[in-house]
Symmetry: C2
Subunit: 611 residues, 2 copies
């Protein structure tokens, strides 16, 4: 059955006559009504907050810059708590006024108050609609209605082609080498993982594998990788995949520099050519070299860097491309173009990949790429993990370094409960065992992640076939009662001259797969509160009952990231940990059942590699 049709039909969610469109002042403008109590979620890979209502978003692709508007993934899709979603399907920079900006002709105006004397005066009176605009003449708007917010997300993901089903190895442990590592160093590092008993499934090579980088040659460095085929064979014997870093900006030392030059933009990035991947000629030239020099030799994926920002080294919005695409359109969609191009190459080989990309946008749920980002605030990273599931995005809150063993463990715990478990030591050269006092805890954490492979792989199968994100904000859970609260702030003539209130959303816990609730701790914390949805919940580690529809306070030791399981949940785990690519059937499983309620579950399996 068509999975889209399996979602119950819903009426169009609002009176279409209240939707307005207008072309004025060079912009296309649309207005969509809001009810007073609606909350809005989504709008890309956001590092702050959850409910988007009451803010302005200038959505554009860039590095993360501590705000809500320049984002690695500025997906112009929002989900309303009233049970519908709206996609502004435009490759332009989009300005979205999410329930703010009152019009004088609105029939639902807030009460006007006197700031001089009325303590209830508001700095930002909410409005009765979402207004969005782009430069240019036209924009497609797609409305997704469904019985619940989760079904809206599913409908959106299925409409976009369903979710990614990564190769199994992609869900294992990823480690990235320091930038200038040689083949010998990589092999020694892999063997060190084995010697110390740490799982390892993917090694990422950073810029130094290229003969030249920034701009890139895409050719193996003759000094650091004199015999790449031999190197890749040795990795394969060990069950370890090789992932190659690159940015797509082409050095004169690339073999295809001259061939691709006519199909590149007016401006360069780090003095490298910028391929116009809207042209099949550019795609063909680029992928032919990649197949010959990487994929045919055994490379399993890429990390596409620098496709986000900053402005000062990417092409300007006024850049000219031979396909006629504007610099702005190219900026908003470049990561999508690369993902589509590379996915097609892997598919043509009947090979799955799981790769990395530094930017994204709408309709990417089927692309086998996880985003990695700038920034290194642990809380912000977790907020992004929580928000990723609204918009069909995968994200890794990668770990790079830490100030202490405690921080190292806490970060390792949370990356192990994310879409992609990556240690990125390109600069810090950190290893899982770099903090000897917590080496055992780190190993246990990674082992738990690997042992959960059957459960996680099934979660991705649900994503693939039914559009259910493997990581979900609590507000997408049916039995969850939202507990955001708004706190008034003191007036301050430097930092808060309008005494604006701050809204506190729940951005530090989330669902992982069907039945696991993850509540990470941050450095310095020995206790935290966890909001449990209605229904009985159990401690993952002990099986103890912990609560039902309530706020609990937990004091876990440093050993454990708090994990809770629904009544009746069945969690399958591997009995043994080994490199995923070397696993052979039959595989021994441990099956855990929580609570007393009889239940059943689906355990999805396939060969884990082919398309």
């Amino acid at each position: 059955m068509d999975p889209l049709k399996a979602i119950a039909p819903s009426d169009f969610p609002f009176d279409p006559s209240t939707v307005c469109g207008l072309v004025y002042g060079g912009r296309t403008i649309v207005r969509i009504p809001l009810k007073p109590d609606e909350k809005l979620y989504g709008l890309g890979l956001q590092f702050q907050g959850l409910n988007r209502r009451g803010k302005v978003y200038h959505l554009r692709t860039d590095h993360y810059s501590r705000g809500n508007e320049r984002l690695h993934a500025p997906t112009p899709f929002y989900i309303s708590s009233a049970g519908y979603g709206v996609l502004f399907n435009s490759p332009r920079y989009i300005d979205i006024y999410a329930g703010i900006g009152n019009r004088k002709d609105s029939p639902n105006l807030p009460k006007i108050r006197d700031r001089n004397t009325d303590r209830n005066w508001q700095a930002q009176p909410l409005s009765d609609s979402v207004e969005a605009s782009v430069y240019g003449n036209g924009m497609e708007i797609i409305v997704f209605a469904a019985p619940s917010m989760l079904d809206v997300v599913r409908r959106f993901n299925l409409y976009c082609g369903g979710g990614v089903l990564p190769p199994k190895w992609g869900l294992g442990f990823w480690h990235r080498m320091r930038s200038l590592a040689s083949d010998k160093e990589v092999i020694a590092e892999a063997d060190e993982f084995k010697r110390r008993g740490f799982p390892l499934d993917v090694i990422g090579l950073e810029p130094g594998w290229h003969s030249k980088s920034y701009p890139c040659s895409f050719e193996w460095s003759p000094s650091r990788f004199p015999n790449p085929q031999d190197f890749l064979n040795k990795m394969k014997e060990r069950g370890i995949q090789i992932n190659l870093w690159e940015n797509p900006y082409i050095s004169p030392n690339a073999s295809f520099y001259k061939a691709i030059k006519p199909y590149t933009g007016s401006h360069m990035v780090w003095l490298g050519l910028v391929p116009d991947f809207m042209m099949s000629q550019a795609r063909d030239i680029f992928t032919k070299q990649h197949k010959e020099c990487h994929l045919n030799m055994g490379v399993s994926g890429y990390k596409f860097d620098e496709v986000d920002g900053y402005d000062r080294w990417l092409w300007p919005d006024h850049a000219v491309f031979p396909s006629g695409t504007s610099g702005e359109q190219m900026r908003q969609t470049y990561a999508l173009q690369i993902q589509k191009m590379m996915m097609d190459v892997f598919r043509s080989r009947n090979q799955r990949t799981y790769s990395l990309i530094r930017a994204n946008n709408a309709a990417s749920s089927a692309y086998p790429f996880a985003i990695y980002t700038d920034h290194y605030d642990h809380r912000g990273f977790i907020t992004a993990v929580v928000n990723s599931g609204f918009c069909g995005l995968l994200y890794t809150p990668e770990i790079r370094s830490a100030q202490s063993g405690e921080e190292w463990v806490r970060r390792m715990q949370s990356v192990c409960f994310s879409h992609l478990v990556q240690l990125n030591g390109w600069f810090s050269n950190t290893k899982p065992w770099s903090f000897p006092e917590v080496e055992d805890r780190v190993r246990d954490t990674i082992n738990l992640r690997i042992r959960l492979l059957p459960y996680i792989y099934t979660a991705f199968a649900h994503y693939h076939f039914e559009g259910i994100p493997p990581i979900r904000s609590m507000v997408l859970e049916p039995d969850y009662t939202d507990s955001e609260r708004s706190e008034n702030q003191k007036l301050d003539d430097v930092d808060n001259p309008y005494a604006e209130a701050i809204r506190e959303d729940v951005t530090d816990q989330y669902m992982f797969g069907k039945s696991l609730l993850v509540a990470p701790l941050f450095v310095g914390e020995t206790a935290r509160t966890v909001i449990l949805p209605h229904g009985k919940w159990y401690d993952f580690y002990t099986g103890d009952y912990v609560g039902n529809g309530e706020v609990i306070t937990v004091q876990p030791s440093l050993d454990r990231i708090p994990l809770y399981v629904r009544e009746g949940a069945i969690i399958p785990l591997l009995k043994e940990v080994e490199p995923i690519a070397l696993m052979r059937c039959p595989i021994a499983l441990e099956i855990r059942h929580y609570g007393a309620l009889p239940s059943q579950t689906v355990l999805y399996d396939d060969d884990g590699e082919n398309v």
Copy 2:
């Protein structure tokens, strides 16, 4: 003689055939060549840095947000060290790539380096041109050439109508009341200034003078100002001007709400109507009430607030205005519209004003408004003072509060050597004497400012008639040797993954009038270096020789802001300090002459009030 013609003619500064223009992707794009050693200055009221080369500027009007792009005054005008200036005369948001963004067809490409191994690899290779673009079809570009950078600035200012000559009282001491002060409180405060021997020329009333604010009624509060004419008379007797705060967003309680409603925009600000001042009907209705209820009664100026940003409470870029002006164009020019409108009202009364505004743009040098801003970083404030003179802007680094007496003195010293000396206690309710341990020092500082009135008024006359900014960056001085330096930074995978260098410009000293060099100190400092231009320099206070074209280190006490005077300079000071509006001829002067060189000077004077 036409003062523009008094500036020596110059050739067009570059080969016109190297200037490119293009309309592509909805944008108008222009390219202007740069020589390798050119430095660029200007681009609005910048709070960071001096030389603009090598950065990207998305110039748009907004509150200050710690970057270079959303600015209170995003003037799209730059001055090149090669002796020319360029004005992008557009009411659009303008993106400017100031010597960055290399094109593949450039004949002057930097050397491509391998980041893997070449330590001289650069994160941001500089380009050979400035590229600017706006959305829309067309943009006027005006090039100003002159023998020196100062002459370029003069030419720009004179082209825009010359500089402001404020009324004399505008150059005195300004004090703002707490927001809800009553008439009695204002009178008592004025008398307290007199009792304590502090000069006072202007009192600003904050939102509480309105019967309603945010949005505003523009009517006197019957409870706080029951008899405004009587109040204004009492102020006049004391020689004190009254300045009224307002934002231009119209409350239903304004007498002209219904009349102006047809001439307002689609969106509201704090639920107040937004007048479309591009329509004469809106201007006439707005100014008629202001004349009747404020100016005819004796009000001498305004503080126009909230005409900058933030997005979340100003109208959106997609707002519709009855004149057909776009929301974006309105945003970029609203402060200019208000200044022009109010200046015309004052001129029609043969009355000068000196007023405040929170935003600005190009061609405002003739408007009698100084910018005041968000933000309260003392160093950033001084940087903005230094940068203001490039673009025909006046700015007050107003003081509001301080953490210590030392900070209070240091901030007071620097605001006393700015375009407008304002203490803004709307929230903090701070007075000049709020730090008793430094009360005498603060009084001395303000007295010095007032005593310098003849010198400062003459400096503004040079601005008015010759376009010479009263405050100038050192780089505009003919005998100054620029000493910017670039410092390499360490690679850091969180904050600086490309090891970008930081350029250190001289942003903490400036020329004030013809002959005074000001070198403010910041809290915590007991010494600083000062870069002296070539020629002999003397200490303002002692007359001692201090150096010639060299870097000196000075250790001034807390009493004094370091001030240095050129050889031969003649500085006129008032002998006595009293409210400027009560001064009557003849006025006794003290004339100081520095160094040994015989010289002459111009001392400008007029009635100081009429147009």
